[in-house]
Amino acid sequence: MTKGLIIAVTVWLKVIRKKDVYVLLILLSALLSWLTTMNIFGLGGTTRYVSDTGLLLAWFLAWILAVNVSARELPEEENRGTIFSLLAKPITRAELIIGKWLGAWTVVCTANAVFYLAIWAIVAVKSGYIDPSAMIQGFVLHCFALAIITAIGIAFSTRMNFDAAATISFVFTGASLLLLPRIPEFAVKEKGLRAVVMSLIYHGLPHFDILDMRQRIVHDYGPVDVSTMAALVIYAMLLTVFFLVIAWLAYRKKLFSRSELM
């Protein structure tokens, strides 16, 4: 397992040194700061729209980052040929997959933590209030959602190049994030085959909607109880493991020849 950790550390070093994350953070802070300076009909003291927009952006940016980082790792190893020297080491494919996932997930979560801190700080500067326990719960569930997204990115990238893997991951997770929550409404009128398809989508795709606590945070509903939290975390972990196992099955027997280099 320590070998997985070493792989994870190299993912970290790469993301930190490539500086894209900082751009996103600056973007988020600038946008939120600009929002707080908005003149709202001469009223002061409103902050929900800031935390709301901030959390929406955090979800959006973390999603982009998660797919980008996770889907990039394996294809880049193959393109550069570094996969050869890596696999020449006494490391198993499973360790490689887990290490890459762990690195991608933790680095995206760290960026996400900074996003949440920035939101909290900007709201606090405007003397707004966010229930800290709901915020922490929301952050934890968000991170578990990111665990699923990074696992999906890794799974698709085992057998595709970066562009294809990133596109498919974006489509797949995007459909889960945006389309799936609307399915219960859409499916009301459907019958027959279409209803079956909708049901399959609803029950088959990952449910990010139940990991998204934004409404509770923004509108001050407070945290959810421990058992709900535990159930949701277990759900997310199961899905993550599921996608990692898929990734491993796809990668386990993958053969490498020089043609990948070109």
């Binding site: 070998k3 490539k18 570094t82 020449a88 080491k89 006494p90 053969l255």
Partner: protein
């Protein structure tokens, strides 16, 4: 003597339009521990393919390969080997020192041991002064040396090098040759492919020549090459006769 590399009846076929290309057909050879064995052959002969099978990147269509008696498909077989790829590359966002220490950690080294191993390798490669620079700022030769260092960090008993001097200038080649010489003196088993025959001649004691996926010759260099002949002449002669037989 123990066998460091043992290849038995190994065939590799690549699927290609309609049928397949047979890159290796039923080859057999072995390398004993302590030998320095040059793996020679014209372009497309099957050298890289053989090495890739040894490292488990490719699966054998038939036959099998062993390293120190372990089937190459097990990851334990790679614990005692160092490998330098044909076109070596490494993470360019790391510094040379980081690249070496991360590789060391993959072999389970930590703390003092790791530190001193990294320093020793850097000194041997003559890279100490550039060690804290990002690899993206390195020249081709410096990069090659760091990659070689990565393959030596675990103090391997068997070192497999695929064209270690490819793309290097004469000074770079000489440096690599010196390093191979030093490793030979330390008693390591070295298996390297090369197109630089005069160079190979100066460091190796055994030869394996492959042509179109068939082993043409393998054996000790002093038994194969008669006095007055050099490796280059011998190589040409064997390849030509192999071509006639085909």
């Amino acid at each position: 003597m123990n066998k460091a590399i043992e290849i038995v009846d190994l065939s590799v076929k690549f699927p290609s339009r309609g049928g397949f290309v047979e890159a290796l057909s039923h080859i057999n050879f072995s390398v004993e521990t302590g030998q320095v064995c040059a793996f020679l052959g014209p372009n497309g002969a099957g050298k890289t393919t053989t090495i890739h099978v040894l490292l488990g990147f490719l699966a054998a269509t038939e036959g099998m390969a062993k390293i120190f008696g372990e089937d190459v498909r097990k990851s334990i077989a790679r614990q005692r080997i160092g490998y330098l790829a044909e076109h070596p590359d490494t993470y360019r966002f790391l510094t040379g020192r980081e690249a070496l220490s991360i590789t060391g950690r993959l072999f389970g080294m930590t703390g003092r041991t790791l530190q001193s191993n990294v320093n020793a390798i850097l000194a041997m490669l003559d890279m100490t002064s550039a060690a804290n620079r990002k690899i993206s700022t390195y020249s081709r030769g410096m990069m090659q040396r760091i990659c070689l260092g990565q393959s030596l960090i675990n103090n391997p008993d068997l070192i497999i090098l695929d064209e270690p001097t490819g793309g290097l200038d004469p000074i770079g080649r000489m440096n690599i040759r010196k390093i191979i010489g030093r490793l030979r003196d330390e008693g390591k088993t070295i298996f390297f492919s090369s197109h630089e025959l005069s160079e190979a001649e100066t460091v190796c004691d055994h030869l394996v020549i492959i042509s179109s996926g068939n082993i043409v010759v393998s054996g000790a260099i002093n038994k194969l090459i008669k006095p007055g002949e050099n490796l280059e002449k011998y190589f040409m002669k064997t390849i030509q006769t192999a071509a006639i037989h085909d």
